[in-house]
């Protein structure tokens, strides 16, 4: 492991920029991830390892996060996906980029719209299934009332982004510190 120098002089650009992230990725499965990425090995870490990271393991949306950022849509992430994920969730990512990915995270059925069932799933994950049926229904109705601008009964990306623009806390809550 004393070859940090060789890694830093390796050809790959992002190793110079994100060494910390690379080591976190490697620490998840040292036997799978090689130290030398010059030949771009095709290494994918399974979702179970990603979901066990301390930053993610208590997040109710960790499965969706992994699915959105992974190449295969199942949550198994390559190093590129891993870097993508943490760069979007960092504090320097612009608001629109975060809003785009947040929308995809909350869109459980991947149909590019947040419909009522997606909202219900979001709410239940947020409150650990502790709200009653009535309350869930009331809150979903209110959310769609407030945010749906084109009146089609579900939230499109534009509706979502329009609503996020008005939320001053979004940038600070949609942020994982690593």
């Amino acid at each position: 492991m004393g070859n940090k120098q060789t890694i830093f002089t390796a050809q790959h650009k992002y190793l110079k920029l994100f060494p910390r992230l690379f080591y976190r990725y490697r620490d998840l499965a040292p036997q799978l991830v090689p130290l030398d990425y010059t030949n771009q090995p095709d290494v994918k870490l399974p979702y179970e390892l990603i979901g066990s990271m301390p930053e993610l393991k208590d997040n109710p949306f960790r499965q969706r996060i992994a699915e959105v950022f992974s190449e295969d849509g199942e949550g198994n992430m390559t190093l590129d996906d891993f870097l993508d994920m943490f760069s979007v969730l960092s504090e320097m990512a612009p608001r629109d980029l975060k809003a785009y990915y947040a929308f995809k995270i909350y869109d459980f059925n991947n149909d590019d719209f947040i419909c009522k069932s997606d909202l219900e799933k979001t709410l239940n994950k947020l409150t650990r299934n502790e709200l009653t049926e009535d309350e869930v229904r009331m809150v979903c109705e209110k959310v769609i009332d407030e945010a749906d601008l084109d009146n089609d009964g579900r939230l499109s990306l534009e509706d979502f982004q329009h609503m996020i623009v008005r939320a001053p806390d979004f940038l600070s809550t949609f942020h994982i510190r690593i």
Partner: protein, 692 residues
């Protein structure tokens, strides 16, 4: 994070890259959406100045996978525009400037005080509690820089020029007024040192800590002169201006966020659902509590709606009863506050009467006003909370009302203390009667009244700090130990304590107001306050992590920052009133201080003014004259009107755009319906056509 990646040989990794891209495109079901936000055919125009940087920035904000972004960047970099030498020099300059800015930002991150602690607090307890600690950090930095200001212009010159220097005025006053001997006589009992430390008397009184020690001298020779009293005055005035500018600058950033997001015009539920979860939450405990918080907030909002519906459905007789109850309760709350003011008044009078006493009893009498203020600040809000239960306002209104009452109580109780002191110093305002006749102030009881006022402020600061530590050690830690170890129902019902952000913030505002009020009389008070706040930070952090559970009722962090600063401004306003009055109305002590023998503290300014050169005098006269100040005033009014007009125009355009967005949605629906109808009409025709 992603600064420009190095350009490397495209030859040896291009095929690999492209192959990876191809594989990516084919295999993932998720990426069937064609990234509509990126225009593949766009190329950087060669003519614009930051041509190299703009596509780079655009690329960062577009949601593409990393490999695709890298490929695009390679393609862009291959379009090397042909530019003149001037252009390329400019581009290099902007690049290096940006690098410098990024480095400066990183540098700033490293040196920001306590940033890791604040992150930890925010992750575990939420944004509301974090905003309290951010506010505390702001006050620490403000006090520290104020101390540097005062040290640089008042303290160090005083120390350096202590022995040299000529007195400014040759006039003197009556013998009796100049009688000031603060040094204790004879043998002093050893514990007196401790008592003196706590009350600022004895060996501490005649020291750089208080106003009375500074000299009425002007040091220097022909080439350089330093007028210490003038420096003292201007430093204090500038200190107030500096604090005001810092607070307003900070309010500006908080307000800008609120204005940009259009206020909280609706959208509460959607915002809570989509932005309520803090992805930075790490501990398992914290996430469970976060979920409970969100659950609680949703329930509270739903409850508020139910209450509003119920309130709207009240009959008129019920309404009358409710309003009369509210009026009565308001009256009672007001009466409680007035009662506490009277208590402070009496206590201060009593304490001043007994000020000569020795020993621990003397210490008790010295601290009596602080004790009464603290007791009042503790009891009255509790009673007001009980009153609020009867008043039955909506929960959000109750919180705001409680905060306003508490702010009023705290700041005005300080005002009552100061008023009492004033009465005694100036013989109830009549400086030509009784004991005040000789020196224009009560020289018998207060040979050096500024030092006495400084001592009172010093005692208030110290007492506030001691009470905080005492509450920590004697109430919070034992409470946690009792709750954790006993299984009785009472203990479980009482529960671990919550970190109450509003009351803690009011404590900070009160402490800072005391420091501002006392800065004129006790120049080292900002330093003492800096040390006190630093200790307070660590103590509060310790108690937060060991004794508290996260609050269920969270405080919104963006609006709360603005509110804290507004309350801080109230405190600043009170302090500046005191300062202006002391500078302009009360006769300075003749036995001590840099302003002895002047009729008012401010009169040093005209005196020094006439010793300036003729041209400077004329210039300053011109600035103060009407010919200059009225056009300046008119100009600033015009500028202010311009900004107000700009704000209203932006607000109107935001509202118009929102309405337009809604209309577009409806248009789209209409068109879609039309298409559906037309297609329905077409299909039978088409079928008829086919059959034929």
């Amino acid at each position: 994070m992603a600064s420009k990646p190095q350009r490397h040989d495209s030859s040896n990794s291009d095929p690999g890259e492209q192959q990876a891209l191809r594989l990516r495109r084919v295999s993932s079901p998720v990426s069937t959406n064609n990234y509509p936000l990126f225009n593949w055919s766009s190329t950087p125009a060669g003519e614009d100045e930051e041509g190299n940087s703009r596509p780079h920035r655009d690329l960062r904000s577009i949601p593409l996978p990393m490999a695709l972004k890298r490929a695009v960047r390679q393609v862009q970099q291959m379009h090397v525009p042909v530019v003149s030498r001037m252009e390329s020099w400019k581009r290099n300059k902007t690049k290096s400037l940006r690098k410098l800015k990024d480095n400066a930002r990183e540098f700033h991150y490293i040196f920001t005080l306590w940033s890791k602690s604040l992150q930890k607090i925010g992750g575990n307890f939420g944004g509301g509690v974090q905003s309290y600690f951010v506010f505390l950090r702001f006050l620490v930095v403000l006090n520290f820089f104020s101390f540097l200001l005062i040290a640089g212009f008042v303290l160090i010159p005083s120390i350096v020029f202590r022995s040299v220097g000529t007195t400014l005025t040759n006039s003197s006053g009556p013998e009796k007024c100049m009688n000031y001997d603060p040094n204790p006589q004879g043998l002093v009992v050893f514990y007196n040192y401790f008592l003196n430390l706590l009350s600022g008397t004895g060996f501490m009184e005649y020291s750089y800590l208080f106003y009375g020690y500074y000299n009425n001298t002007m040091a220097g020779d022909r080439t350089f002169s330093y007028n210490i009293p003038l420096a003292y005055l201007f430093t204090v005035v500038f200190y107030f201006a500096f604090c005001l500018i810092c607070i307003i600058a900070r309010m500006g950033t908080a307000a800008r966020v609120a204005v940009a997001t259009g206020g909280s015009a609706g959208g509460n539920y959607s915002m809570m659902v989509f932005t309520g979860w803090d992805y930075g939450c790490m501990a398992d405990q914290a996430t469970k509590l976060k979920q409970k918080t969100i659950h609680y907030r949703l329930q509270v909002d739903l409850e508020e709606e139910r209450i509003q519906k119920r309130a709207a459905a009240l009959t008129s007789s019920q309404k009358i009863i409710l309003y009369s109850i509210r009026f009565l309760m308001c009256f009672i709350a007001f009466g409680l506050i007035i009662a506490s003011f009277y208590g402070i008044f009496v206590a201060t009078n009593f304490s001043q009467e007994k000020s000569g006493q020795e020993g621990f009893l003397g210490l008790f009498f010295e601290y009596l006003p602080s004790i009464v203020i603290t007791t009042g600040n503790f009891l009255v809000p509790l009673l007001c909370d009980q009153i609020a239960l009867i008043e039955q306002y909506a929960p959000s209104t109750t919180i705001i009302l409680a905060l306003l009452r508490a702010v009023f109580l705290r700041l005005v109780s300080l005002g009552v203390l100061l008023f009492t002191l004033w009465r005694q110093i100036t013989c109830e305002g009549q400086t030509n009667s009784g004991t005040c006749k000789l020196c224009q102030y009560n020289y018998e009881v207060y040979p050096c009244w500024e030092t006495r006022v400084g001592q009172e402020m010093y005692k208030l600061t110290l007492f506030d700090f001691l009470i905080n530590i005492a509450v920590l050690a004697l109430v919070e830690f034992p409470r946690r130990m009792v709750v954790d170890n006993s299984s009785s129902k009472v203990a479980q019902w009482v529960g671990r304590q919550e970190f109450m952000v509003p009351s803690n913030v009011l404590g900070l505002v009160y402490g800072q107001t005391v420091v501002w009020t006392g800065a004129l009389f006790c120049p080292l008070l900002p330093l003492i306050n800096t040390i006190k706040f630093v200790f307070l930070f660590y103590c509060k952090k310790v108690t937060l992590f060991y004794n508290c559970r996260p609050a269920l009722k969270t405080f919104r962090s963006t609006t709360s920052t603005f509110f804290f600063l507004v309350v801080l401004l109230f405190g600043w306003g009170l302090a500046i009133l005191v300062m202006i009055y002391s500078l302009a109305e009360i006769h300075p002590s003749m036995g001590c201080g840099p302003f002895r023998f002047f009729p008012y503290m401010w009169s040093i300014v005209p005196t020094s003014f006439y010793s300036l050169s003729k041209t400077t005098q004329e210039f300053l006269f011109f600035i103060g004259s009407q010919a200059f100040s009225i056009p300046l005033f008119v100009l600033s009014c015009v500028v202010m009107c311009y900004f107000i007009a700009l704000t209203s125009v932006y607000g109107k355009s935001v509202a118009l755009l929102r309405a337009q967005l809604k209309l577009e949605g409806r248009d789209k629906q209409f068109l879609v319906k039309q298409i559906e109808e037309l297609s329905r009409l077409q299909i039978p025709k088409h079928n008829a056509g086919v059959q034929d």
